[in-house]
Symmetry: C2
Subunit: 302 residues, 2 copies
């Protein structure tokens, strides 16, 4: 307990198969992780604009090895708390990025600081409750995979930009490499599902997590899986939203088949009645979708 990893100690810009641990902990340990904002202080004022996506972006603090985590295990990351460590976030547009990129009505680059006071951020006279999101969180990739920069979401996690990745949620990752090698950063003080302009209110944080290795899980997962207060959510990233929907739906079908006396077709039908598809983000190099199922119909698969 009391272990802490700061952004200055170790950060990565790529999730690869061969990450080296900056910190090693035991299963069951809690760790505090300090993260910079995704732009690492490049935007501290509305006048600080970015002409393009920086080559290095979304610094992920880590990697953290969990002793004994072995390929085939699952790494459970319980998000205990996310504390903002700046008094303002920033929202930016920049050329070549964002859902409405290239439309003449949208000015890019532009930056907007969002001051935060009493648990709310201010934007154009509107007060928005702070609801932190960890944008980038992932583990070392599989041996047969390339590395993915921290701008990309994929099966190892990475730039998932998913609002459910917040305090109280547990994120389950496949362990691809010994130790798992967890890293995270790119937090937002608030973010909409979709992250349309390309950012939320990007901000530095301290995150408390408890890490747990699940050995010989009853069900294998190929991608991140979320457990929120009331639902299980599969998470899939792909070239198109349609493809991501297909993958997220299959992953949910597999979980339903493992728990219920359903065949795949029945699970597919059931998934068409309850819970449903949700959009995480539509702006990163791959887009991300989740498929939710209330806990009333799905218990822990592990």
């Amino acid at each position: 307990m009391g272990q802490k990893l700061s952004y200055d100690d170790s950060k990565i810009y790529e999730f690869t198969p061969d990450l080296e641990a900056a910190l090693t902990v035991e299963s069951g340990d809690s760790v505090t992780i300090e993260t910079a904002d995704s732009l690492e202080g490049a935007v501290m004022d509305d006048d600080d604009v970015l002409e393009e996506v920086p080559e290095e972006v979304n610094a992920a603090t880590g990697p953290i090895a969990v002793d004994g985590a072995t390929p085939g295990d699952i790494l459970a990351v319980h998000i205990d708390d996310i504390r903002l460590t700046e008094s303002a976030g920033r929202v930016v547009t920049l050329g070549g990025f964002g859902l409405l990129d290239g439309h003449e009505e949208i000015e890019a680059p532009r930056s907007r600081m969002t001051p935060i006071e009493d648990g709310a951020l201010e934007f154009g006279g509107c007060e928005v409750p702070v609801d932190p999101v960890i944008g980038t969180i992932g583990v070392a990739t599989r041996e047969d995979e390339p590395g993915y920069t921290t701008l990309v979401p994929h099966d190892h996690g990475g730039n998932l930009d998913t609002t459910d990745i917040t305090t109280g949620t547990t994120v389950y990752f496949p362990v691809n490499q010994p130790g798992g090698m967890l890293a995270m950063g790119d937090c937002k003080a608030a973010m909409a599902d979709g992250e349309m302009c390309g950012t939320g209110a990007e901000i530095a944080t301290e995150i408390d997590v408890t890490l747990e290795v699940i050995e010989a899980p009853a069900v294998d997962i190929s991608r991140p899986l979320l457990e929120t207060a009331d639902a299980w959510k599969t998470v899939a990233s792909a070239e198109t939203l349609e493809e991501a929907c297909e993958i997220a739906n299959w992953d949910l079908i597999d979980l339903l088949v493992a728990e219920h006396e359903f065949d795949e077709t029945e699970a597919y039908m059931f998934s068409s009645l309850v819970g449903g598809l949700e959009i995480s983000q539509v702006v990163d190099p791959l887009v991300t979708v989740r498929n939710a199922m209330p806990k009333a119909y799905l218990s822990s698969p592990f």
Copy 2:
């Protein structure tokens, strides 16, 4: 008051510019509309399977003209109640339809009746609370548009398959033709966001709506707009989810600009912080997405 239109009286399978009214009401009137299930009784048993999507499907009861509704006005449809009029719904797969169409693990055609008792439907031992959805609801199309069958969602509404179109919601449509010419059907006892297998639990209903013409609205809308208990949601249908996201986001930006002292870029940034993109359905000939904004940040645009 007390006006009723039954499915036997009048139904349509295409929304066109030149619909003829089956019933004419005054602005402010309430009407009860009887709807058949989307397959009109073709599936009454698990053994009733469908080889393909019927040529006529999603019968929409109507059209209802609202006296005085004129192109440029908005037709507000307040959904007061949806009552199921069958004791079971049905979920089906059929070849050529559905998110996972063509995968060998998915059997198509298959049909599954979902018995309903005490406000819950039963599927494979799971009880799912009834939460009715109007799948198809729309008005006559614009003069410059073709007709759209009731299988297609577009700017006039149609097969939107949107879970928010339920009791308590108001759906706002652009009036494209004199009288508006409202029709609806294709209800589900329950449906997941996405409607992945191609149906919810399709079921016959009686729907109570109150119709209101908004003359000279302060803001024009080109597509359906939803008002739920706590949010405004733009709704857009397009060939791809990405395109639908763009349209839904633009429509929301227009509403934010009309209310706040935002330019388009500020509204875009704000939309990236609060509310967000939601999936309605991924299976119809065009797919449907919505962009939600909590009422705390958007009041009635009209």
